[in-house]
Symmetry: C2
Subunit: 205 residues, 2 copies
DNA sequence: CCCTTAATGGGTCGCAAGTTCCGTTAAGAT
DNA sequence: ATCTTAACGGAACTTGCGACCCATTAAGGG
Protein backbone atom coordinates (compact mmCIF):
# COMPACT_ATOMS: atom_id res chain seq x y z
CA UNK A 1 0.00 0.00 0.00
CA UNK A 2 2.64 2.45 1.11
CA UNK A 3 4.00 2.95 -2.37
CA UNK A 4 6.36 5.56 -0.91
CA UNK A 5 9.71 4.70 -2.42
CA UNK A 6 12.28 5.87 0.05
CA UNK A 7 15.25 7.54 -1.56
CA UNK A 8 17.70 4.73 -2.18
CA UNK A 9 20.23 4.42 0.60
CA UNK A 10 18.10 5.73 3.48
CA UNK A 11 16.69 2.47 4.85
CA UNK A 12 19.87 0.40 4.95
CA UNK A 13 22.61 3.01 5.12
CA UNK A 14 25.18 0.71 6.73
CA UNK A 15 27.68 -1.66 5.19
CA UNK A 16 27.69 -1.80 1.42
CA UNK A 17 25.57 1.31 0.89
CA UNK A 18 28.02 3.42 2.91
CA UNK A 19 31.00 1.93 1.07
CA UNK A 20 29.38 2.70 -2.28
CA UNK A 21 28.74 6.28 -1.28
CA UNK A 22 32.30 6.80 -0.11
CA UNK A 23 33.73 5.25 -3.27
CA UNK A 24 31.46 7.29 -5.55
CA UNK A 25 32.17 10.63 -3.86
CA UNK A 26 35.86 9.88 -3.94
CA UNK A 27 35.68 9.02 -7.63
CA UNK A 28 33.63 12.15 -8.29
CA UNK A 29 36.37 14.35 -6.85
CA UNK A 30 38.98 12.58 -8.96
CA UNK A 31 36.90 13.13 -12.08
CA UNK A 32 36.31 16.77 -11.20
CA UNK A 33 40.04 17.37 -10.86
CA UNK A 34 40.64 15.80 -14.27
CA UNK A 35 37.68 17.00 -16.32
CA UNK A 36 35.84 19.68 -14.36
CA UNK A 37 32.09 19.83 -13.83
CA UNK A 38 31.17 20.10 -17.50
CA UNK A 39 33.03 16.87 -18.20
CA UNK A 40 31.66 14.96 -15.26
CA UNK A 41 30.24 11.76 -16.76
CA UNK A 42 28.18 9.46 -14.56
CA UNK A 43 29.58 6.56 -16.54
CA UNK A 44 33.17 7.41 -15.71
CA UNK A 45 32.40 8.03 -12.07
CA UNK A 46 30.71 4.65 -11.75
CA UNK A 47 33.58 2.87 -13.47
CA UNK A 48 36.22 4.59 -11.33
CA UNK A 49 34.28 3.89 -8.16
CA UNK A 50 33.88 0.27 -9.16
CA UNK A 51 30.10 0.32 -8.91
CA UNK A 52 27.33 -0.09 -11.45
CA UNK A 53 26.28 3.06 -13.26
CA UNK A 54 22.66 2.19 -12.54
CA UNK A 55 23.42 2.73 -8.87
CA UNK A 56 24.95 6.14 -9.46
CA UNK A 57 22.00 7.30 -11.53
CA UNK A 58 19.50 5.93 -9.04
CA UNK A 59 21.03 7.51 -5.95
CA UNK A 60 22.31 10.83 -7.29
CA UNK A 61 20.27 11.42 -10.41
CA UNK A 62 22.90 13.40 -12.25
CA UNK A 63 26.16 15.36 -12.04
CA UNK A 64 24.47 18.11 -10.01
CA UNK A 65 23.35 15.60 -7.41
CA UNK A 66 26.86 14.27 -7.05
CA UNK A 67 28.48 17.63 -6.39
CA UNK A 68 25.63 18.65 -4.10
CA UNK A 69 26.24 15.57 -1.96
CA UNK A 70 29.94 16.34 -2.05
CA UNK A 71 29.27 19.85 -0.78
CA UNK A 72 27.18 18.68 2.17
CA UNK A 73 30.08 16.39 3.01
CA UNK A 74 32.54 19.29 2.95
CA UNK A 75 30.22 21.48 5.01
CA UNK A 76 30.48 19.04 7.91
CA UNK A 77 34.26 19.19 7.94
CA UNK A 78 34.56 23.00 7.98
CA UNK A 79 36.64 24.34 10.82
CA UNK A 80 35.63 26.93 13.43
CA UNK A 81 36.85 30.53 13.12
CA UNK A 82 40.34 31.56 14.21
CA UNK A 83 40.95 33.54 17.38
CA UNK A 84 44.41 35.06 17.17
CA UNK A 85 43.60 37.96 19.45
CA UNK A 86 43.42 40.63 16.74
CA UNK A 87 40.97 41.21 13.88
CA UNK A 88 43.82 41.51 11.47
CA UNK A 89 45.16 38.12 12.47
CA UNK A 90 41.72 36.53 12.27
CA UNK A 91 40.87 38.02 8.89
CA UNK A 92 44.27 37.03 7.52
CA UNK A 93 43.61 33.51 8.74
CA UNK A 94 40.23 33.56 7.02
CA UNK A 95 41.69 34.85 3.76
CA UNK A 96 44.43 32.24 3.94
CA UNK A 97 41.81 29.56 4.43
CA UNK A 98 39.79 30.66 1.41
CA UNK A 99 42.93 30.99 -0.67
CA UNK A 100 44.08 27.55 0.44
CA UNK A 101 40.75 25.96 -0.38
CA UNK A 102 40.61 27.58 -3.80
CA UNK A 103 44.23 26.77 -4.60
CA UNK A 104 44.00 23.16 -3.47
CA UNK A 105 43.75 20.85 -6.45
CA UNK A 106 41.01 18.67 -5.06
CA UNK A 107 39.06 21.11 -2.93
CA UNK A 108 39.32 23.88 -5.51
CA UNK A 109 37.97 21.68 -8.27
CA UNK A 110 35.09 20.65 -6.05
CA UNK A 111 34.23 24.21 -5.08
CA UNK A 112 34.25 25.39 -8.67
CA UNK A 113 32.13 22.41 -9.64
CA UNK A 114 29.48 23.26 -7.07
CA UNK A 115 29.46 26.86 -8.20
CA UNK A 116 29.03 25.72 -11.78
CA UNK A 117 26.31 23.26 -10.80
CA UNK A 118 24.49 26.01 -8.91
CA UNK A 119 23.99 27.90 -12.18
CA UNK A 120 21.72 25.16 -13.50
CA UNK A 121 20.45 23.24 -10.50
CA UNK A 122 18.38 24.63 -7.66
CA UNK A 123 19.46 21.98 -5.14
CA UNK A 124 23.11 22.70 -5.76
CA UNK A 125 22.40 26.42 -5.43
CA UNK A 126 20.67 25.87 -2.11
CA UNK A 127 23.54 23.74 -0.80
CA UNK A 128 26.02 26.40 -1.85
CA UNK A 129 24.03 29.20 -0.23
CA UNK A 130 23.71 27.19 2.97
CA UNK A 131 27.41 26.36 3.02
CA UNK A 132 28.55 29.97 2.71
CA UNK A 133 25.92 31.22 5.11
CA UNK A 134 27.31 28.87 7.77
CA UNK A 135 30.90 29.80 7.08
CA UNK A 136 30.24 33.54 7.06
CA UNK A 137 28.21 33.27 10.27
CA UNK A 138 31.00 31.32 11.91
CA UNK A 139 33.72 33.83 11.00
CA UNK A 140 31.55 36.83 11.77
CA UNK A 141 31.97 35.84 15.42
CA UNK A 142 35.63 36.81 15.17
CA UNK A 143 34.61 40.27 13.98
CA UNK A 144 32.03 40.57 16.75
CA UNK A 145 34.75 39.75 19.28
CA UNK A 146 36.92 42.49 17.76
CA UNK A 147 34.05 44.94 18.15
CA UNK A 148 33.68 43.86 21.77
CA UNK A 149 37.42 44.42 22.29
CA UNK A 150 37.05 47.90 20.87
CA UNK A 151 39.16 47.19 17.78
CA UNK A 152 36.31 48.12 15.45
CA UNK A 153 33.41 50.60 15.72
CA UNK A 154 30.26 49.46 17.53
CA UNK A 155 27.55 48.33 15.13
CA UNK A 156 30.00 46.94 12.56
CA UNK A 157 28.28 44.28 10.43
CA UNK A 158 30.45 41.22 10.99
CA UNK A 159 28.96 39.10 8.22
CA UNK A 160 29.53 41.84 5.67
CA UNK A 161 33.13 42.23 6.78
CA UNK A 162 33.75 38.53 6.28
CA UNK A 163 32.08 38.60 2.87
CA UNK A 164 34.20 41.59 1.88
CA UNK A 165 37.35 39.59 2.49
CA UNK A 166 36.25 36.68 0.28
CA UNK A 167 34.65 38.70 -2.49
CA UNK A 168 37.81 39.85 -4.32
CA UNK A 169 39.21 36.32 -4.26
CA UNK A 170 36.12 34.79 -5.84
CA UNK A 171 35.78 37.70 -8.23
CA UNK A 172 39.19 36.92 -9.66
CA UNK A 173 38.60 33.19 -9.65
CA UNK A 174 35.26 33.26 -11.44
CA UNK A 175 34.89 36.51 -13.33
CA UNK A 176 38.23 37.83 -14.47
CA UNK A 177 39.90 34.43 -14.09
CA UNK A 178 43.19 36.01 -13.11
CA UNK A 179 45.53 34.01 -10.88
CA UNK A 180 44.70 34.27 -7.21
CA UNK A 181 47.70 34.67 -4.92
CA UNK A 182 48.63 35.83 -1.40
CA UNK A 183 48.93 39.40 -2.67
CA UNK A 184 45.22 39.42 -3.53
CA UNK A 185 44.31 37.91 -0.16
CA UNK A 186 46.52 40.37 1.72
CA UNK A 187 45.04 43.36 -0.10
CA UNK A 188 41.51 42.10 0.54
CA UNK A 189 42.22 42.03 4.27
CA UNK A 190 44.03 45.39 4.22
CA UNK A 191 41.24 47.25 2.39
CA UNK A 192 38.43 45.59 4.30
CA UNK A 193 40.07 46.41 7.60
CA UNK A 194 40.65 50.03 6.61
CA UNK A 195 36.99 50.36 5.65
CA UNK A 196 35.82 48.65 8.82
CA UNK A 197 37.95 50.92 11.03
CA UNK A 198 36.50 53.93 9.22
CA UNK A 199 33.03 52.68 10.14
CA UNK A 200 31.99 51.89 6.57
CA UNK A 201 30.51 48.56 7.70
CA UNK A 202 28.19 50.19 10.23
CA UNK A 203 24.67 50.24 8.71
CA UNK A 204 22.77 53.53 8.80
CA UNK A 205 26.01 55.32 9.53
CA UNK B 1 46.09 23.65 -53.97
CA UNK B 2 45.40 26.20 -51.27
CA UNK B 3 43.42 23.82 -49.10
CA UNK B 4 43.16 26.59 -46.46
CA UNK B 5 39.53 26.64 -45.49
CA UNK B 6 38.74 30.12 -44.23
CA UNK B 7 36.47 30.20 -41.20
CA UNK B 8 32.96 30.31 -42.62
CA UNK B 9 31.63 33.83 -42.82
CA UNK B 10 34.91 35.68 -43.34
CA UNK B 11 35.07 35.87 -47.15
CA UNK B 12 31.54 37.05 -47.88
CA UNK B 13 30.49 38.71 -44.66
CA UNK B 14 27.85 40.94 -46.24
CA UNK B 15 24.21 40.30 -46.99
CA UNK B 16 22.91 36.94 -45.95
CA UNK B 17 25.89 36.01 -43.79
CA UNK B 18 25.45 39.14 -41.69
CA UNK B 19 21.71 38.57 -41.41
CA UNK B 20 22.27 34.99 -40.28
CA UNK B 21 24.74 36.12 -37.62
CA UNK B 22 22.37 38.76 -36.29
CA UNK B 23 19.46 36.34 -36.19
CA UNK B 24 21.50 33.62 -34.47
CA UNK B 25 22.93 35.93 -31.80
CA UNK B 26 19.47 37.32 -31.16
CA UNK B 27 18.03 33.83 -30.85
CA UNK B 28 20.90 32.82 -28.58
CA UNK B 29 20.04 35.59 -26.13
CA UNK B 30 16.40 34.58 -26.15
CA UNK B 31 17.33 30.99 -25.42
CA UNK B 32 19.71 32.05 -22.66
CA UNK B 33 16.97 34.03 -20.96
CA UNK B 34 14.65 31.05 -21.09
CA UNK B 35 16.95 28.10 -20.42
CA UNK B 36 20.33 29.44 -19.29
CA UNK B 37 23.69 28.32 -20.61
CA UNK B 38 23.34 24.69 -19.54
CA UNK B 39 20.14 24.42 -21.56
CA UNK B 40 21.44 26.15 -24.64
CA UNK B 41 20.77 23.72 -27.50
CA UNK B 42 22.22 24.46 -30.93
CA UNK B 43 19.12 22.88 -32.40
CA UNK B 44 16.76 25.30 -30.68
CA UNK B 45 18.89 28.31 -31.50
CA UNK B 46 18.92 27.38 -35.18
CA UNK B 47 15.17 26.82 -35.24
CA UNK B 48 14.42 30.09 -33.47
CA UNK B 49 16.78 32.01 -35.72
CA UNK B 50 15.18 30.40 -38.77
CA UNK B 51 18.47 29.01 -40.08
CA UNK B 52 19.79 25.50 -40.61
CA UNK B 53 21.45 23.87 -37.63
CA UNK B 54 24.36 22.88 -39.84
CA UNK B 55 25.13 26.56 -40.26
CA UNK B 56 25.16 27.18 -36.54
CA UNK B 57 27.47 24.23 -35.90
CA UNK B 58 29.77 25.21 -38.75
CA UNK B 59 30.18 28.85 -37.77
CA UNK B 60 30.10 28.68 -33.96
CA UNK B 61 31.06 25.11 -33.17
CA UNK B 62 29.11 24.87 -29.95
CA UNK B 63 27.31 26.73 -27.17
CA UNK B 64 30.59 28.20 -25.90
CA UNK B 65 31.30 29.68 -29.33
CA UNK B 66 27.89 31.32 -29.42
CA UNK B 67 28.23 33.08 -26.09
CA UNK B 68 31.82 34.04 -26.86
CA UNK B 69 30.69 35.78 -30.03
CA UNK B 70 27.90 37.40 -28.05
CA UNK B 71 30.43 38.73 -25.57
CA UNK B 72 32.65 40.29 -28.23
CA UNK B 73 29.51 41.97 -29.51
CA UNK B 74 28.72 43.40 -26.08
CA UNK B 75 32.30 44.53 -25.58
CA UNK B 76 31.99 46.88 -28.54
CA UNK B 77 28.91 48.56 -27.11
CA UNK B 78 30.40 49.26 -23.66
CA UNK B 79 30.23 52.89 -22.62
CA UNK B 80 33.11 55.13 -21.48
CA UNK B 81 33.58 55.88 -17.78
CA UNK B 82 31.50 58.53 -16.03
CA UNK B 83 32.96 61.88 -15.04
CA UNK B 84 30.70 63.43 -12.43
CA UNK B 85 33.40 65.51 -10.82
CA UNK B 86 33.81 63.38 -7.69
CA UNK B 87 35.12 59.85 -7.13
CA UNK B 88 32.07 59.01 -5.14
CA UNK B 89 29.79 59.99 -7.99
CA UNK B 90 31.88 58.10 -10.53
CA UNK B 91 32.08 54.94 -8.46
CA UNK B 92 28.37 55.08 -7.75
CA UNK B 93 27.77 55.38 -11.47
CA UNK B 94 30.01 52.37 -12.06
CA UNK B 95 28.27 50.31 -9.41
CA UNK B 96 24.89 51.29 -10.84
CA UNK B 97 26.04 50.20 -14.28
CA UNK B 98 27.19 46.79 -13.05
CA UNK B 99 24.02 46.37 -11.04
CA UNK B 100 21.93 47.36 -14.02
CA UNK B 101 23.71 44.95 -16.33
CA UNK B 102 23.38 42.09 -13.89
CA UNK B 103 19.74 42.84 -13.11
CA UNK B 104 18.72 43.23 -16.74
CA UNK B 105 16.90 40.12 -17.94
CA UNK B 106 18.69 39.84 -21.25
CA UNK B 107 22.09 41.25 -20.42
CA UNK B 108 22.23 39.47 -17.09
CA UNK B 109 21.46 36.10 -18.64
CA UNK B 110 24.15 36.68 -21.23
CA UNK B 111 26.77 37.68 -18.65
CA UNK B 112 26.04 34.65 -16.51
CA UNK B 113 26.19 32.44 -19.57
CA UNK B 114 29.62 33.70 -20.52
CA UNK B 115 30.84 33.19 -16.99
CA UNK B 116 29.48 29.66 -17.05
CA UNK B 117 31.02 29.01 -20.46
CA UNK B 118 34.37 30.27 -19.22
CA UNK B 119 34.50 27.41 -16.72
CA UNK B 120 34.75 24.87 -19.50
CA UNK B 121 35.99 26.71 -22.57
CA UNK B 122 39.29 28.54 -22.92
CA UNK B 123 38.07 30.88 -25.68
CA UNK B 124 35.13 32.01 -23.60
CA UNK B 125 37.46 32.51 -20.65
CA UNK B 126 39.80 34.64 -22.75
CA UNK B 127 36.91 36.75 -24.07
CA UNK B 128 35.66 37.27 -20.54
CA UNK B 129 39.09 38.23 -19.24
CA UNK B 130 39.57 40.65 -22.11
CA UNK B 131 36.15 42.19 -21.61
CA UNK B 132 36.66 42.94 -17.92
CA UNK B 133 40.23 44.09 -18.44
CA UNK B 134 38.95 46.72 -20.87
CA UNK B 135 36.13 47.80 -18.61
CA UNK B 136 38.32 48.02 -15.51
CA UNK B 137 40.99 49.94 -17.43
CA UNK B 138 38.36 52.35 -18.71
CA UNK B 139 36.90 53.09 -15.28
CA UNK B 140 40.30 53.22 -13.60
CA UNK B 141 40.75 56.51 -15.47
CA UNK B 142 38.06 58.03 -13.27
CA UNK B 143 40.02 57.00 -10.18
CA UNK B 144 43.25 58.37 -11.64
CA UNK B 145 41.49 61.69 -12.21
CA UNK B 146 40.39 61.67 -8.58
CA UNK B 147 43.97 61.10 -7.50
CA UNK B 148 45.05 64.01 -9.71
CA UNK B 149 42.36 66.18 -8.08
CA UNK B 150 43.73 65.24 -4.68
CA UNK B 151 40.60 63.33 -3.65
CA UNK B 152 42.57 60.13 -3.08
CA UNK B 153 46.15 59.44 -1.96
CA UNK B 154 48.88 59.51 -4.60
CA UNK B 155 49.82 56.03 -5.80
CA UNK B 156 46.30 54.63 -5.40
CA UNK B 157 45.83 51.63 -7.70
CA UNK B 158 42.86 52.65 -9.83
CA UNK B 159 42.22 49.25 -11.38
CA UNK B 160 42.10 47.62 -7.97
CA UNK B 161 39.65 50.23 -6.73
CA UNK B 162 37.34 49.54 -9.64
CA UNK B 163 37.59 45.80 -9.11
CA UNK B 164 36.81 46.27 -5.41
CA UNK B 165 33.51 47.90 -6.30
CA UNK B 166 32.39 45.07 -8.58
CA UNK B 167 33.65 42.18 -6.48
CA UNK B 168 30.90 42.11 -3.82
CA UNK B 169 28.23 42.28 -6.48
CA UNK B 170 29.57 39.32 -8.42
CA UNK B 171 30.32 37.46 -5.20
CA UNK B 172 26.65 37.56 -4.29
CA UNK B 173 25.52 36.81 -7.80
CA UNK B 174 27.71 33.75 -8.34
CA UNK B 175 28.80 32.36 -5.00
CA UNK B 176 26.22 33.00 -2.34
CA UNK B 177 23.47 33.62 -4.89
CA UNK B 178 21.75 36.14 -2.67
CA UNK B 179 19.68 38.88 -4.31
CA UNK B 180 21.75 41.81 -5.51
CA UNK B 181 20.22 45.22 -4.81
CA UNK B 182 21.18 48.90 -4.55
CA UNK B 183 22.07 48.39 -0.90
CA UNK B 184 24.86 46.02 -1.90
CA UNK B 185 26.10 48.40 -4.58
CA UNK B 186 25.99 51.38 -2.22
CA UNK B 187 27.91 49.53 0.48
CA UNK B 188 30.51 48.38 -2.03
CA UNK B 189 31.16 51.98 -3.00
CA UNK B 190 31.13 53.19 0.60
CA UNK B 191 33.62 50.61 1.86
CA UNK B 192 35.88 50.83 -1.17
CA UNK B 193 36.01 54.60 -0.89
CA UNK B 194 36.79 54.47 2.83
CA UNK B 195 39.64 52.04 2.16
CA UNK B 196 40.96 54.12 -0.74
CA UNK B 197 40.94 57.32 1.33
CA UNK B 198 42.84 55.50 4.05
CA UNK B 199 45.50 54.61 1.48
CA UNK B 200 44.77 50.88 1.52
CA UNK B 201 44.94 50.78 -2.28
CA UNK B 202 48.45 52.23 -2.43
CA UNK B 203 50.87 49.33 -3.13
CA UNK B 204 53.95 49.03 -0.90
CA UNK B 205 52.30 51.35 1.59
C1' DC C 1 23.96 40.86 -66.27
C1' DC C 2 26.52 36.64 -65.73
C1' DC C 3 29.72 33.58 -63.52
C1' DT C 4 32.25 31.52 -59.79
C1' DT C 5 32.07 29.68 -55.47
C1' DA C 6 31.16 30.99 -50.46
C1' DA C 7 27.72 29.92 -47.55
C1' DT C 8 23.49 27.87 -46.36
C1' DG C 9 20.17 24.01 -45.18
C1' DG C 10 17.66 19.62 -45.36
C1' DG C 11 18.37 14.85 -44.59
C1' DT C 12 20.75 11.08 -42.56
C1' DC C 13 23.83 8.60 -39.63
C1' DG C 14 26.81 7.26 -35.60
C1' DC C 15 27.89 7.45 -31.01
C1' DA C 16 27.52 8.32 -26.24
C1' DA C 17 24.61 9.70 -22.41
C1' DG C 18 20.91 8.19 -19.83
C1' DT C 19 16.84 4.71 -18.81
C1' DT C 20 14.64 0.44 -17.97
C1' DC C 21 14.45 -4.43 -16.85
C1' DC C 22 15.33 -8.02 -14.02
C1' DG C 23 18.34 -11.23 -11.73
C1' DT C 24 21.82 -11.16 -7.75
C1' DT C 25 23.76 -9.77 -3.35
C1' DA C 26 23.78 -8.67 1.34
C1' DA C 27 21.55 -5.40 5.36
C1' DG C 28 19.09 -5.71 9.20
C1' DA C 29 15.30 -7.75 11.76
C1' DT C 30 13.62 -11.90 14.23
C1' DA D 1 20.77 -19.14 11.55
C1' DT D 2 17.05 -17.70 8.59
C1' DC D 3 14.11 -14.69 6.13
C1' DT D 4 12.60 -10.46 3.90
C1' DT D 5 13.57 -7.05 0.88
C1' DA D 6 16.66 -2.84 0.24
C1' DA D 7 20.14 -1.98 -2.69
C1' DC D 8 23.25 -3.23 -6.23
C1' DG D 9 24.85 -4.35 -11.09
C1' DG D 10 24.99 -6.27 -15.89
C1' DA D 11 22.95 -5.74 -20.27
C1' DA D 12 19.77 -4.37 -23.59
C1' DC D 13 17.25 -0.42 -25.17
C1' DT D 14 16.03 4.49 -26.13
C1' DT D 15 17.08 9.16 -27.10
C1' DG D 16 19.19 13.13 -28.82
C1' DC D 17 23.33 15.78 -29.74
C1' DG D 18 26.63 16.72 -33.08
C1' DA D 19 28.87 15.35 -37.72
C1' DC D 20 28.65 14.50 -42.54
C1' DC D 21 26.95 14.66 -47.43
C1' DC D 22 25.40 17.02 -51.15
C1' DA D 23 21.96 19.82 -53.44
C1' DT D 24 20.52 24.80 -53.41
C1' DT D 25 20.99 29.78 -52.89
C1' DA D 26 22.99 34.18 -53.30
C1' DA D 27 27.49 37.34 -52.52
C1' DG D 28 30.78 39.74 -54.80
C1' DG D 29 33.77 40.33 -58.85
C1' DG D 30 34.01 40.93 -63.82
Amino acid sequence: MEQQTHLAGTVRPGGRTARVRAAVLEATQDELVEHGFHGLAMDQVAARAGVGKTTVYRRWGGPAGLVTDLMTELADRSAPHADTGSVEGDLLANAAGVLGAVADKRLGATLQAVIAAATCDEQAAAALREFYLRRVREWAKAVDLAVARGELPAGTDGMEVVRAVSAPIYYRLLVTREPVDEEVAARAVRTTLAAARAGAFVPTA
